[in-house]
Amino acid sequence: MRVGLTVSIAAHAVILGIGLIAFPDMRSLEAENIEALPVELISVAEDTDLMKGDESSEVLPEKEEPQPMPEVQAETPSPQPEEKPAEKPVETVQAPPPPKPAPRPEPEPEPEPEPAQAPEPVAIPGPEPEPAPEPEPEPVPEPEPELAETPAPEPTPRVVTNPNRPKPRPEPPRAVAAAEPPPPSPVQAPKAEEPEFNADDIAALLNKQEPRGGGTPTPAAEPQTIGSIEGRAEAAMTQSEIAALKARLYQCWNPPVAVREAGALVVEVGISLLPDGSLAGPPVINSVSMASDPLAQVAAEAAVRAVVQCAPFGDILRPEKYAIWNQIDFVFDPREMLGG
């Protein structure tokens, strides 16, 4: 038995490990695989088919249960159950983070547009038209307008390439997460039936809690515990919802012609959304390909403009799926644009 169990555990670990290793590779393939989304509806159903929670229930101690990951679906950008802000009914009005602070007047323009105040004295040529740069005989002096960088009002770094996504904003209360129905753990089953099983303490390490929590949608005789407020939410965005979202962005994205012609100038913009579909904060540039290209900044700004102009998305995104769309990464890829 012990051997069997060990083998079983080891095998599970290997499978999980394989799944893990496979993830990063498979992410890179996902560009053409958006269509695979619906497939996932089924695979994550057991995680999301939660019964309604009950206000009378108690918050249970946290329990981390390894969800047997559906190993095959790794590539899809599937909404994972952990991300769900499974609000417990007790806190139904989970205070969203403060709405985007009013755009603070970041530029601190100097009170007077006096050239003398320019913080970059180097950039400002002397007040007189310098004749030096014109070595050629130019008897008719056409005073060259001099150029000086205006004291930039607080050079706010415009494109903040932030490789790290901000954490999912609605931090799911951990206690609630524990209420996720632990799918019948392969480890627990033997424990219940085999009292003599004690040789290996692994099981004890893994789980000492009795199975409990939301359970499956099957009506439970037990008093209900905290479940997911989403209840029977569908587990993924439908194709038509994604298509509507894309169509909206197509209207708002107006990349400059040079960006269209530049080829693989791909910008990924991440946004966090409030439950009403409005932006929870300014979009974040996750990545810009060809970041050293002078066009990268222009491309990034065009992408941000598209997202901000398109928001809010409340008319497209259904509130019951907020857990899925509370964060969205838009990948702007101009390569297929017509006229580019």
């Binding site: 969800q67 323009p109 008897p139 598209a306």
Partner: protein, 434 residues
């Protein structure tokens, strides 16, 4: 084993988190001019005066004519003036759908000059993008405006601007039988026209030096064609080479040190290179055909020209040192007046086909030919310094017709007539003045 499992579990949890984002690929967008608001600049004393208003109007006109911007109608403005020293109230500009806002001021500096200052804002994100100050004599206020427009254009499109430039052209007056052709120059928007020759001699094919404010052109004096180089600022004119035969279609090398041209010999013509300092003439082609209209690649390594050596007038590319030439145009019709883009990526040409004269572009390897405009007569393309816009002349025919200058985007869109005092042909676009 337990440890392994625990690690695996935590890693899976992490990977799951990373995968949790909803990713949406956006592969299509709109191709629309960017709405931009350019309220009148603040003038001396804090109000709006004629000068400050004019500057804003020229900036507006430049950006609008580029076809890449759609300036918002000032009558819709909620706020008429935005001082550049203050952060705009973006709430007043978002309802107008303006995506960018230019605020600026023009004021005398006290030493006889004026200072123009502007700031560019991203209305959508509420961000400050760029701001600059310029000083100039009051006479040069239009240049100030063009430079500001270039700066805005560059910051929003990621490409060099082309507004602070001039266009040389052949001004044509008088009836068709006794037309007077004068060399003229103006700002790219048609302002500040100046005549450089008096019209006694017939002048054609003015060409700008890529590096200096100089023009090369061909002039018919008596029965002889000569090539002159003219310094625009000084008005100094220099005859380069006194050739026994007809010389025409001069064009500068990218460094401005040499001129390629064609010399006629009997019924043929060949291409030569003239060193402007040593006056040494080097023959580049040697064929019993008409080789003419040479134009350097921007790196100076190659020359494109037209030739009928294959029986019909086509485009050929050869080394700048001469030698074997490779034909790159293979379509039907006759190709002429090739001009290499300052960006190097395209060659513009005139194409005669089916009784029409068309303007088109193709890549230096001959691929990707596109016709940008066609009609009764379109000829003589010249590139804006950023390689994004072409100017050419168009004659619609008719007894009272004559040539006029037009510009078109390399996408074939945004065709616009360029205002000139009278008929005009043979435009040549200058490099940026700055």
């Amino acid at each position: 084993v337990a440890l392994l499992l625990a690690v695996a579990v935590s890693l899976v949890g992490f990977a799951g988190q990373a995968l949790a984002q909803l990713r949406v690929d956006i592969t299509q967008g709109t191709i629309q001019p960017m709405p931009i608001a350019i309220p009148a600049f603040v003038g001396a004393g804090g109000g709006v005066d004629e000068l400050s208003q004019n500057v804003a109007q020229v900036v507006t006109a430049d950006l609008k004519r580029s076809g890449l911007f759609a300036p918002v109608d000032p009558s819709a403005f909620i706020e008429q003036v935005v001082p550049p020293s203050a952060t705009p109230n973006f709430a007043n500009w978002r309802p107008l759908n303006a995506q960018a806002l230019v605020s600026g001021s023009v004021a005398p500096t006290g030493d006889g000059r004026i200072m123009a200052e502007y700031r560019l804002w991203d209305v959508v994100s509420g961000q400050y993008l760029v701001g600059k100050q310029f000083f100039a004599s009051p006479d040069n206020w239009r240049r100030l405006a063009h430079i500001i427009a270039d700066s805005v254009y560059e910051r929003l499109t990621g490409e060099r601007g082309y507004f602070d430039t001039r266009v040389a052209f052949v001004d044509e007056t008088g009836g068709k039988s006794q037309r007077v052709k004068r060399l003229a120059i103006m700002d790219q928007d048609g302002a500040n026209v100046r005549y450089l020759t008096n019209g006694e001699d017939l002048v054609v094919t003015p060409r700008f030096s890529p590096s200096r404010q100089e023009l090369a052109y061909a002039s018919l004096t008596g029965d002889n064609w000569h090539i002159f180089v003219l310094n625009i600022e000084t008005g100094q004119r220099e005859l380069i080479g006194n050739f026994p035969n007809m010389a025409f279609s001069p064009r500068f090398s990218p460094d401005g040190q040499q001129v390629v041209l064609s010399l006629q010999q009997g019924g043929n013509s060949n291409i030569y290179r003239l060193d402007l300092r040593t006056r040494q003439l080097t023959r580049l082609t040697d064929s019993p055909s008409i080789d003419t209209a040479p134009s350097y690649s921007p790196d100076g390594s190659r020359i494109i020209f037209e030739s009928d050596r294959g029986g019909q007038q086509q485009l050929y590319v050869m080394s700048a040192l001469g030698g074997a030439a490779e034909r790159i145009s293979f379509g039907s019709g006759r190709y002429g007046t090739p001009v290499w883009s300052p960006r190097g990526d395209l060659i513009a040409f005139t194409k005669q086909e089916g009784g029409e004269f068309k303007i088109g572009v193709l890549r230096p390897d001959g691929s990707g030919e596109r016709i940008l405009t066609e009609g009764f007569h379109n000829e003589g393309p010249t590139w804006a310094p950023n390689g994004r816009v072409l100017m050419f002349f168009r004659d619609t025919g008719g007894p009272n017709g004559g040539p006029q200058l037009w510009s078109v985007d390399i996408t074939g869109y945004n065709e616009q007539m360029v205002p000139t005092p009278s008929f005009a042909s043979d435009p040549a676009w200058s490099p940026l003045l700055g």
